[in-house]
Symmetry: C2
Subunit: 150 residues, 2 copies
Amino acid sequence: MTAHHPEQGSGDGAAQLAHELRDAITRLNRRVRQARPVGDLTIAQLSALTSLELAGALTPRELADLERVQPPTMTKIVGRLEEAGLVQRAPHPTDGRQVILSATERGRVVYAQFERSRDQWLAQRLSELTGPERAALAAAAEILQRVARG
Amino acid sequence: MTAHHPEQGSGDGAAQLAHELRDAITRLNRRVRQARPVGDLTIAQLSALTSLELAGALTPRELADLERVQPPTMTKIVGRLEEAGLVQRAPHPTDGRQVILSATERGRVVYAQFERSRDQWLAQRLSELTGPERAALAAAAEILQRVARG
DNA sequence: CACGTTCGTTAGCTTAACTAATGAGCATGG
DNA sequence: CCATGCTCATTAGTTAAGCTAACGAACGTG
């Protein structure tokens, strides 16, 4: 089940490692994500709010690309977030077609709350590990973030 | 951005690590999962088929618990998988209320195909890393799997 | 054997996702 | 300088996924 020879062979090693990592990621994500609405926000809404908060300001198109959904889908999600007062639409300064989306102050507060609660389960689990295990995960986290963004 | 002192303080360290890991996991999962239907199967269907294939045989209730959805939701998903000929329902040998779900031969073939294609993107990314980086991820993968199952 | 519990399903609703089509605004070429 | 074409966001319409509530069948126990 574990990786026996991670250093030898970047071909098969990578395939085997990819399988293990994806399995772990899939399972962890199921634990962390909460498929159903969390509080008043759904996953898609929270995810969009997160991307928006991290980026600062985006057009609907950019946000849709980030979330890997089609523009009409993002229109709906943003519409609900706007109704909830968490996101605001502003006209683009020079291009009349485009719209600038940003989180409202309330949106930022709500985002921070969910961010914390989302980390709680995992933080609890991690605190049960040994120091070396946490160190191993910390080293991996940096690499994973790089892979995820690449 | 990286974890500076993973060994000191299991409290704050775990919180910070949890945040970084969750971020990486969320992003990786978005890359890997493809939110929209893959081929003819949706994510929920593929996920249920995966759980069923891994477990061998399950009742709808057990499968719903594994997938962290409510029983009625699983009824629908299994219904579609059954229509597609990937999953079969069988009566429980002793309990007339219960149903035994299992993947059909075709379901197993389809599962294996998706499993491979799902790993491809990640395997490609991993092959671009250095040997030590892959070794670090391999060590982390084992720990992550343990955390995810715990 | 009657009563409560568990199991799976059905019914009805909301959200999320897609494609196709629409309308507004930009930009460019004659 | 304006007509044509393109991009942006949205609307319309469909399918899937998720929920709760309610139901009928089967089990088990007092």
